[in-house]
């Protein structure tokens, strides 16, 4: 039966966020802001952390701290000995003998490893007391260098006997003749450096145990259900005993999944002391104890013909896992999966190995394994282009997969759903005015202008919305109330993405209820027991699709009620979204409003949307950089992008995601890096030293539109959240290298700091390889 549609569909329009008025005036309610009856009289938790990277823990003298004003308790690893050690995730893949305890016991393995916890009455007393806890450390040599970790002279986990966490393929599988027949072969070892996710809200927790023995924990996270599961395991309790509530979250970028040891310790303290407990980490703690991102070393080899056909590519990865294996150690799997990107390369190999080092554990960070694949591949393409003397955009065009609408499987097993990579490249180059840029570059080179121009191009495809083990799915509940408002319960977990607005738009389209009349809820495990959270750019294509499905199923349920109410056949009814009412065909007077159908009996549907698989957004980024050849300083002038993530639901939100991703991606290319000295001491443990990018270093971005739908969900959408990061990093790095390419520089490692650029220019000048 045909439905009357809105004259104007709301989908695809720039709906302003319903979330905003609150955030702009009274501010979000983040974990530190939460007030709740259960948290009355909460005490404050502070961690004592190791100042050395690798050491045996000796005596811990808590006596002075215990005597300090307001100190309620001081606990060490010994006090938590009854709790299980933290199991390593994916034990078949990762070395399960590298287990961690909630508080370091026996050994500390990174600067920042928590060894004790101090609990005070008032906030201001905590740091005073932490200073008084006296820990003896017997230092051990620190393993910071990846090769040292591989050689294994110093082992982090005696039980493991090795520093190798996981292997992805092995060297024996590499074919020595892979590059036979290639007229040009280039090889290089490059760094995809460690960065800090640094969300503006650091980690926090508030915990209270009820008289019923249940724990209520407020934790900023990316999926309350996963956090509950982790927390229950860490505390050795049943999941049913734990309720996780997700307050507003001030950014996450992959680093707030699940539960960290600190979250569990806070909950344990609350149970131990019989009173609620709260914790907020400082920025210093955040920069050394929240998981870091990236941290891969790549050996890339690329070969092909002198007229630009790439015939073979090899990628060898060493992943720095940090001190305790987390998802970072797994990421080479994704890097390998996406190793050939949007190109058709006849022969390709990729292997990897993850090691532990005496540094902060590495986790997921916006892109999680895929930026690394693209960065390596794009660097290889640039090196190849330089080797054969061909324009880098042209080399890419020659080797891109032709457009496809039926799924295409790569040699590494990725099943790309749809793509038109050449169209993205052409559109980006056109928007950038590529020919004019090359002409300007040539002019400056000819005149020896002290400010040289560089242009970088990157083509990418990335994987979004893959399931974790089983098929990708998400649940949603949509309910219409008698007063005409509606509630959506979602298993996603937004932290800035705007799901309240987006899910309301989707449901509004189906139900005819205005966006402002929706309440969207998430992140309370008592209310929504199942959910996959938000990460990996999954939310719209699974969570949004689930909302649409639930809304449509609700109309079906409502139709039956309407038929009864109107004493008509269901087939004779049409749903008029402009009126949010069912009408009898040919007799509009005979109608019943959707809201009225909720009066006798609740009107709601809970559904699970299952996707056929992951989707593959793609695009091209063009970056324009200027290098002051006297100082080496690079300035990012323009970033032009095509990020095709299928149909765009709300351009405002999609652009915001692209902007944020581009900024973080660009920041990795020329600014940000976590630095350790040879002893494992962090040198970038504050926002004064870790140069998180500010507005002054970035231009406004130029976003071009392209929408190649996917057939994997009725919305036709893929994931957009990480695409910006994936495309921007290599484009910006490439632009900077290109700016001094005419001086003989072929490569500069990220971040391309002024000193590195200047050194590369000196080295090229001295006739050596650009270093």
């Amino acid at each position: 039966m045909e439905e009357a549609r809105h004259l104007m569909s709301i989908l695809g329009t720039r709906v302003l966020r319903t979330e905003d008025p609150r955030f702009l005036t009274t501010g979000g309610v983040y974990t530190e802001d939460v007030t709740d009856e259960l948290l009355t009289g909460a005490c404050h938790v502070f961690f004592v952390r190791s100042p050395v990277a690798h050491a045996q823990i000796g005596r811990i003298d808590t006596s002075a701290a215990l005597g300090a004003p307001g100190v309620l308790a001081v606990y060490t690893g010994a006090d938590l000995a009854g709790l299980p050690a933290i199991d390593v995730m994916m034990p078949g893949l990762l070395n399960e003998r590298m287990r961690r305890r909630l508080l370091a016991t026996g050994k500390v393995r990174f600067v920042g490893d928590p060894v004790a916890v101090v609990v005070t009455e008032h906030l201001y007393q905590g740091e005073d007391a932490v200073e008084l806890v006296d820990v003896d450390y017997d230092p051990l040599p620190a393993v910071v260098d990846l090769d040292d970790a591989l050689h294994g002279e110093v082992i982090l986990f005696d039980e493991a006997g090795t520093n190798v966490v996981a292997e992805f393929g092995n060297e024996a599988s590499l074919k020595p003749d892979l590059f036979d027949g290639c007229e040009a072969v280039v090889t290089a070892t490059i760094i995809n450096q460690r960065v800090a996710p640094a969300p503006m809200e650091a980690r926090a927790a508030a915990a209270a145990w009820g008289e019923d023995g249940r724990l209520t924990a407020w934790i900023p996270n990316q999926g309350a259900q996963g956090t509950r599961e982790d927390l229950a395991k860490l505390l050795g309790v049943e999941e049913a005993q734990v309720r996780v509530i997700t307050p507003d979250v001030g950014g996450a970028f992959g680093a707030k999944f699940g539960a960290d040891p600190e979250h569990a310790v806070v909950a344990w303290v609350a149970r131990q002391l019989g009173r609620p407990a709260r914790w907020t980490e400082s920025r210093f703690e955040n920069l050394i104890a929240m998981t870091h991102g990236r941290g891969q070393r790549h050996t890339i080899t690329i070969g092909g013909s002198r007229d630009g056909d790439v015939q073979a590519y090899r990628l060898q990865i060493v992943q720095d896992g940090g001190a305790y294996p987390k998802i970072g150690a797994v990421l080479p799997f994704l890097t390998i999966l996406m190793a050939v990107g949007p190109y058709q390369i006849p022969k390709a190999e990729a292997i990897g190995v993850s090691v532990v080092t005496n540094t902060t554990p590495v986790g997921a960070y916006r892109g999680a394994g895929r930026p690394e694949a693209t960065a390596a591949l794009e660097r290889a393409f640039d090196l190849f282009a330089a080797e054969i003397g061909m324009d880098p955009a042209e080399v890419r065009r020659r080797n891109l997969l032709p457009p496809f609408t039926e799924p295409h499987q790569t040699a590494f097993g990725a099943l790309y759903d749809s793509g038109d990579y050449a169209a993205a490249l052409d559109k980006a180059l056109d928007s950038a005015g590529y020919a004019e840029l090359r002409a300007e570059q040539a002019r400056r080179r000819a005149s020896g202008d002290p400010h040289q121009l560089g242009i970088g191009v990157s083509c990418y495809v990335e994987i979004t919305g893959g399931g974790d083990g089983g098929p990708p799915k998400e649940n949603a509940t949509v309910e219409v109330h008698p007063d005409g408002t509606a509630t959506i319960l979602t298993g996603t977990s937004p932290h800035g993405q705007g799901h309240s607005t987006a899910w309301a738009m989707i449901a509004s389209e189906e139900l005819g209820i205005p966006v402002e009349n929706f309440t969207v809820r998430w992140g309370d495990t008592d209310l929504i027991p199942e959910g996959g959270g938000t990460g990996g750019s999954r939310s719209l294509q699974q969570g949004g699709a689930a909302v649409q499905q639930a809304s449509r199923e609700l109309i079906d349920v409502a139709r039956e009620r309407a038929a009864a109410a109107l004493e008509a056949s269901a087939d004779d009814l049409r749903f008029n979204t402009d009126r949010a009412a069912f009408e009898v065909a040919g007799d509009p007077e005979a109608s019943v409003r959707l809201a009225d159908l909720a009066k006798e009996e609740r009107l709601f549907v809970h559904t699970i949307f299952t996707a056929p698989g992951a989707t593959f957004p793609f695009g091209t980024h063009v970056a324009v950089a200027e290098v002051d050849t006297q100082t080496g300083k690079a300035t990012l002038r323009r970033v032009i992008t095509v990020d095709d993530a299928g149909i765009v639901l709300n351009p405002l939100l999609a652009e915001g995601q692209r902007h944020g991703g581009i900024a973080q991606g660009a920041a990795q290319a020329f600014l940000e890096e976590v630095v350790y000295d040879a002893d494992g001491n962090p040198l970038t443990a504050s926002f004064a030293d870790y140069p998180i990018v500010s507005a002054t270093e970035l231009p406004s971005f130029e976003l071009a539109s392209m929408e190649t739908p996917t057939s994997y969900n009725p919305l036709g959408v893929k994931g957009i959240g990480e695409a910006g990061t994936i495309g921007a990093t290599p484009a910006v790095q490439s632009a900077i290298v290109d700016a001094v390419g005419h001086l003989g520089v072929r490569h500069i490692d990220m971040p391309a700091t002024p000193m590195r650029i200047w050194r590369a220019m000196q080295a090229a000048n001295d006739g050596l390889e650009g270093a």
């Binding site: 702009l24 201001y124 650091a202 902007h659 507005a695």
Partner: protein
């Protein structure tokens, strides 16, 4: 020690340790939690409020130093239920995502426009160098400030 000053037009009397930071007083004693703490090194600006109309980082001001002065927070920019032109512009331009930096960013923008009612894009970017954002890439924040600047200047100052 006892300190007296006004917050959002209301007189406040603080009985605090001398080391009490203004941001903690505003959040804990006044219940004004829009200002957030995002760093330890006076870098991020999430705690920005106005002190006698000028933007300051309230994490680096002692309550003691605010004696006799007027503090304005994001909560006090407009009457309840209304939005100040800068707040309206941030919404119109999607200048916020997770919202953690937003109150500080808004207060810094109000101060910026009070001193320079018609900034160029470059001046806006430099004017916000004390405010860090991880979500937006700053693009829409800059647009928001420029949009607010195009409104009636008399309306735009606090």
């Amino acid at each position: 020690m006892r300190v007296e000053f006004t917050v959002n037009g209301e007189p406040r009397s603080a009985d605090v340790e001398p080391r009490t930071l203004l941001v903690h007083f505003l959040r804990e004693q006044c219940g004004l939690r829009a200002a957030n703490i995002g760093c330890d090194t006076t870098s991020c600006g999430a705690c920005t409020v106005l002190l006698d109309g000028e933007s300051v980082k309230s994490c680096t001001v002692l309550v003691a130093q605010a004696a006799g002065q007027e503090v304005t927070t994001a909560e006090g920019l407009a009457p309840p239920g209304e939005l100040h032109p800068v707040q309206r512009a941030f919404r119109a331009e999607h200048g916020l995502q997770c919202g953690f930096c937003t109150p500080g960013m808004v207060m810094a923008s109000v101060s910026l426009l009070a001193e320079n009612p018609h900034p160029t894009e470059q001046q806006v970017r430099e004017g916000l160098e004390g405010n860090l954002c991880r979500c937006t890439g700053y693009h829409n924040i800059v647009r928001a400030v420029l949009t607010a600047a195009a409104s009636d200047p008399a309306e735009v100052t606090a």
